[in-house]
């Protein structure tokens, strides 16, 4: 067997393979004898079908199968001999005349490979570090959010006409040019009596209306209205006020802290402290990941290289899959969202490219710096993950027995190490 490897580009190789005639006839013999044992033909006992009859009936299938197996086997050998690192399946082009007994079989395959990088200038990167900061303002914003989320609508007492700022429960009946339309009639809808648009749930026209009274109003809808029958039309609504409610925001006191139901948080002070603590943790994490991003970007800025498109596409796949499974966990069916997948992919491409480039560069730096990850590192990481995710260590170890999951984790650890190395070597500038 002859194997030639040409470099088309840093990320693509062309492999030309010539398989010897002997090997072909061997493979053909094997295929036919296997087939002869399996196949049942009328007029022949199982296993007694002559080769000639088999050839007459199954030649195309068998040859296709032999070509596939020859290509698979010989491509595997080519990959091993020339230490290629393919990142996608090869595009195979069988040369004329294909598979003919007694003649060598030639094919060429183009395959995307992992580029070999010579990382340079990755020490002394200049990176700005943002110090995590939690201000009193942030804490009180968070408290306000909690207050809002705990607020309730309570019926207004002692007043019978709507005022701006009220919430109103209404019945409405809508018509277009005198005709009722689908969805135009509803009862018990809650709207807010405040300047704004009906479509967003605001109905200022109710101000001054008494309970039980009705107002009539016209509402025109834009041409891009989501509900098709209303597009570009003007509808006439008769609105009857049924109930008035006002929003009651709970006061900031110890009661609100208790209502949160967090263990150990009984007073407002404790709640504040807890919020601050959480925010600090979150900010620190954010600053950390921003720093990592910045380090990778800085390193990439000094290293220009090409990336195999297949790797980028795969990274996009992974991202989309992650997003879909997040949706699924929230009980949303992604198919119902009618996502524009091609556009989503295009939007994610840049991010994916950065991710792939970063991973490739970190890997090459790990190679250059002889950063290795051993079994004990893996175990330590598993122990950490088990604590963090609340999964028993034994179960994680079980999952990691499979080769690919284990390899992926090893890779991630190695990347993390390389990144930590880069960060420790970098010149950090602090920024408040």
């Amino acid at each position: 067997m002859k194997i030639e490897v040409e470099t088309v580009s840093p990320v693509e190789k062309k492999v030309t393979v010539e398989v010897d005639p002997e090997r072909i006839s061997q493979e053909l013999d094997k295929a036919y004898s296997g087939l002869g044992r399996r196949v049942k033909l009328k007029g022949f006992r199982a296993g007694h079908v002559p080769r000639a009859v088999l050839e007459r009936n199954f030649r195309d299938d068998v040859e296709k199968q032999v070509v596939d197996s020859l290509v698979n086997a010989s491509f595997g050998e080519a990959v091993e001999q020339h230490a290629l690192e393919p990142v996608a399946s090869p595009r195979v082009d069988v040369a004329e005349p294909g598979l003919v007994a007694g003649q060598p079989f030639r094919y060429s395959a183009r395959v995307e490979v992992k580029p070999r990088l010579e990382p340079r200038d990755y020490r002394k990167l200049e990176v700005t570090r943002r110090e995590p900061q939690v201000t009193d303002q942030m804490v009180s914003d968070e408290l306000t959010r909690i207050q809002e989320s705990l607020s309730r609508l309570v019926p207004v007492e002692g007043r019978f006409d709507a005022q701006l700022g009220d919430y109103a429960v209404i019945d409405h009946e809508g018509t277009i040019a005198g005709q009722p339309f689908e969805g135009g009639k509803a009862e018990g809808v809650t709207v807010k009596v405040e300047p704004g648009d009906l479509t967003a749930g605001f109905l200022p026209q109710l101000a001054g209306v008494k309970l039980g009274d009705s107002v009539e109003l016209d509402q025109s809808f834009p041409a891009d209205q989501g509900f098709e029958p209303l597009r570009g039309k003007t509808a006439h609504f008769k609105v009857t006020l049924r109930e008035l409610k006002s929003r009651q925001v709970p006061a900031l006191d110890d009661a609100i802290a208790k209502e949160m139901g967090l263990p150990g948080v009984e007073t407002l002070e404790a709640l504040r402290a807890r919020i601050r603590e959480d925010l600090e943790k979150r900010e620190a994490q954010r600053a950390e990941s921003e720093l990592k991003d910045a380090v990778v970007k800085a390193a990439l800025a000094r290293n220009e290289f090409e990336v195999p498109p297949a790797m980028v596409e795969r990274a996009i796949d992974v991202m989309l899959q992650g997003a879909f499974s997040r949706f699924a966990r929230q009980g949303i069916d992604p198919r119902q969202l009618e996502l524009d997948v091609p556009r989503l992919r295009a939007d994610l491409r840049e991010q994916a490219l950065l991710q792939v480039k970063g991973a490739l560069l970190l890997e090459s730096i790990a190679d250059a710096e002889k950063i290795e990850v051993g079994e004990e590192d893996l175990q330590a990481e598993l122990a950490r993950m088990s604590g963090e995710m609340g999964i028993p260590l034994a179960k994680l170890q079980q999952q990691m027995r499979g080769g690919s999951a284990r390899g992926a984790l090893m890779n991630r650890l190695r990347e993390d190490r390389a990144l930590a190395f880069l960060t420790s070597e970098a010149t950090l500038k602090s920024q408040a």
Binding site: K42, G43, F44, R45, H48, P50, A52, V53, E55, R56
Partner: protein, 97 residues
């Protein structure tokens, strides 16, 4: 009785036995019309496949008794013809492609 050539020769028989006879003695087996004579078979095969036939042997295969549930049935009898060709001639229908 007048039979068209295509009606005389119904189908080739390709079985272990016929394959062996073909390889060993250029004998080709067909299912033929039940009322066809050896002479009719000879001329039909010669015309249809442009070959020379040196001998024809026929036999009537008895239909098998078959039972479907409690109904007894019988497959029809049929005639088999084994045709020997002149040295060196073949019928491509049997040889494939």
């Amino acid at each position: 009785m007048m039979l068209a050539d295509q009606d005389v020769v119904k189908r080739p028989l390709i079985t272990e036995k016929s394959e062996r006879a073909r390889e060993a003695a250029q004998q080709y087996a067909f299912e033929v019309h039940k009322d066809a004579t050896k002479i009719q078979v000879k001329s039909a095969v010669e015309k249809l496949f442009s070959v020379h036939v040196t001998a024809v042997r026929t036999s009537v295969a008895r239909g098998k008794n078959k039972r479907v549930g409690r109904n007894l049935g019988r497959r029809p009898n049929w005639k088999k013809a084994v045709v020997t060709l002149k040295e060196g001639e073949t019928i491509s229908l049997f040889e494939g492609a």
